[in-house]
Symmetry: C2
Subunit: 312 residues, 2 copies
Amino acid sequence: MSLNKCLVSSPATVANLGCGFDIMGLAIQEPLDRIGVKLNSNREIRISEITGPEGHKLSFSPRENLMIHVLQCFTKKLGTKQGLDITLEKHVPLSSGMGSSAASSGGVLVAANALFDNPFNNDDLVTLAMEGEKFISGAWHADNVAPCIMGGLVVIPNYEPLSLVSCPFPEDLIVVVVHPHFELPTKEARAALPKEIPLGLAVKQWGHVAAYVSSFFLQDKNGLARYMEDFVIEPARAALIPGFYDVKNAALENGAIGCSIAGGGPSVFAFTFDQDQAETIASQMALAFKKHQIECDRFYSPINPNGCHLID
Amino acid sequence: MSLNKCLVSSPATVANLGCGFDIMGLAIQEPLDRIGVKLNSNREIRISEITGPEGHKLSFSPRENLMIHVLQCFTKKLGTKQGLDITLEKHVPLSSGMGSSAASSGGVLVAANALFDNPFNNDDLVTLAMEGEKFISGAWHADNVAPCIMGGLVVIPNYEPLSLVSCPFPEDLIVVVVHPHFELPTKEARAALPKEIPLGLAVKQWGHVAAYVSSFFLQDKNGLARYMEDFVIEPARAALIPGFYDVKNAALENGAIGCSIAGGGPSVFAFTFDQDQAETIASQMALAFKKHQIECDRFYSPINPNGCHLID
C-alpha cells in the first residue's frame, strides 16, 4: 500500500430516468459526498467522523451504518483483517431518491480500493456496493451504485451474473433535480408498485425503453423527449409526492424536455438542453412544491462522466 | 406518372427477435415476393395474376385479399379513383412467422407509390401497410411491415403517433430461418400469451431490451448473444411449435449465438456470425424438426438493408 489514507468524492445519482425503472441510472455533478478511508492499527472497521449537512441523521453503529457493512464485505473478499477508519462528509440527502446510500457505499469502496492498490474492478465494486443497498432496503439493485462508481449513464440489464453497459449521452444534456424536504423510504416507494401489469402495458414500456436507449446512442434530442415517458411506475408513485404533477408541468412549461420521479422519489428530475433555462426550470419546480407547503433544494448540472474519484 | 407499371421485390421479415416482442423486426434477403402494380382503364383495383409456390393459397376476392384492401386505402388517401391491376409472385410462406402478409402489403404499396411518383414517405407507407395487417389478423402492428418497407433493423416504440427508429446492425450477422411446414395463425399465437405478467418479469425483459438495443449500436457480439433472451413470449408460445426446444438446442450447439421464434411462429430463427456454419445450423435445425415428423424450408442471409425496392 502506497498510501495510508484515501479521500474520494462520491456523487448523487438519478435512477430510472423515466421509462427505465430498475435498469438505468446516471451520475450528476452535485451534491457530492466526501468519504475518507484510513488504515488503523486495530482490526476494527469503524466510523471516526461524520460531518456535512445530512451527517447528523446517520448512525456510527456497525449494525446501522452501511459503510461499515460494505467495508466488512470488502475486507472479507480481499482476505484481510486490516482495521479501517471511515470519515464521511454527507451532502446527498437521505431517502431522497438521489442515491444517498449508493454515494456512501460507492464512495467508501472506491476509497478502500484505492488504499489497497485497486484489487477490484468496477464489476466487483458494484457488486460489493449492492450489499449496502440490500443492507438498507432489502433489495439488490445497482441503478444508483453503478453510475455512482462508474460515472455517466449506465444500463444494468442483468444481475445473474451482473452486467453493466455504459451508454453515451449528449454532453449538453442538463439534469435538473429538485429535492423536496420530506423523506420517502425506498421500501414505501416499492410498496406502491403493482405486482402484475397488463402485457400490453409492458410492451408499450419496453418499446419506449428501446427507443429511449436508441436516442441516447443517436444523440437524438427529440427522441429523448418523446420516449422517456414512463407508463408504469410514475403513475403508481405520483400520489406519494404531493404536487408531483404540478411540479412536472412547471418543468415542462419552462423548457424541460421531460420530467419524472428521481429513483424512488420524492426528488423529481427534469432534462433540458437549454442551459440558460435550467435555473428557471429548477426554481419553477421548487415554486410548485412550495404551493403545496413543501420546501426544496435544487441542483442542476450536466451528467457527471467520472463518478467516484480520488481527491487530494 | 412516368411509368404505367412498377414491379418490386418485397422481402420476408423476422419480428420480435428474441426479447423485442411487438417492437422490433428486421428484413432478410430470402424469400422474396415479386409484386407488380399496373394502371388499368377502369376504376377497379383487382388481382390479375397470382403465381409462385405459395400463390395457390391466396384468394383473388377483394373481401379476402389484403393487397386489394391496402391499395384501396392507398388510392383513397391519394384522392384518386384510378384502377390498378396487381400481379403477385408469392414466395414468402403464409402464416409462417416470416411476415408473409407484410411482404404483400409492403410490396404492393411501394410499387403503387413508385407508380404515382412517390407521393408518400415511409411513415405513410408503413401506416397504410398496417391496414393490411389489421385486415388479416385484427391487430395493428408494424414490426414486419416497417422493416419490409424500410429494410434493415427497425424499432417501433409507438403507434400513437407511429414512430420508427432505424438501428445499425453488424454486417456480418447472419440470420438463419427454418420454416416448418405447418401454419400457425397469428390469432392463435396471440391467444397463447398471458394477459398480465409480474412486474419483476417485465423489468427483467425491458432490461434485456435496453441492453440488446445497446448491443446493436455497439456492434457488441457478446451482448447480442447475452441479451436477446426472451423471458415472456417464447415460454408461452414454445408449446405451439412441436420440438421447439430441440430445434433451439440444435442451433445453439452448432454455433448460433441465439435462437428464438420468428414473429408469431412457427418459423424459428437463429443468429450467427460464423458464415461457414450457417448452412450447418440451418440443416441441424431442420433435422431436429424432422425428428418430430415436420419437414422444413431453410433460409439464411445477412440482414437485408434495402427492404422493398423496384426491380426492372
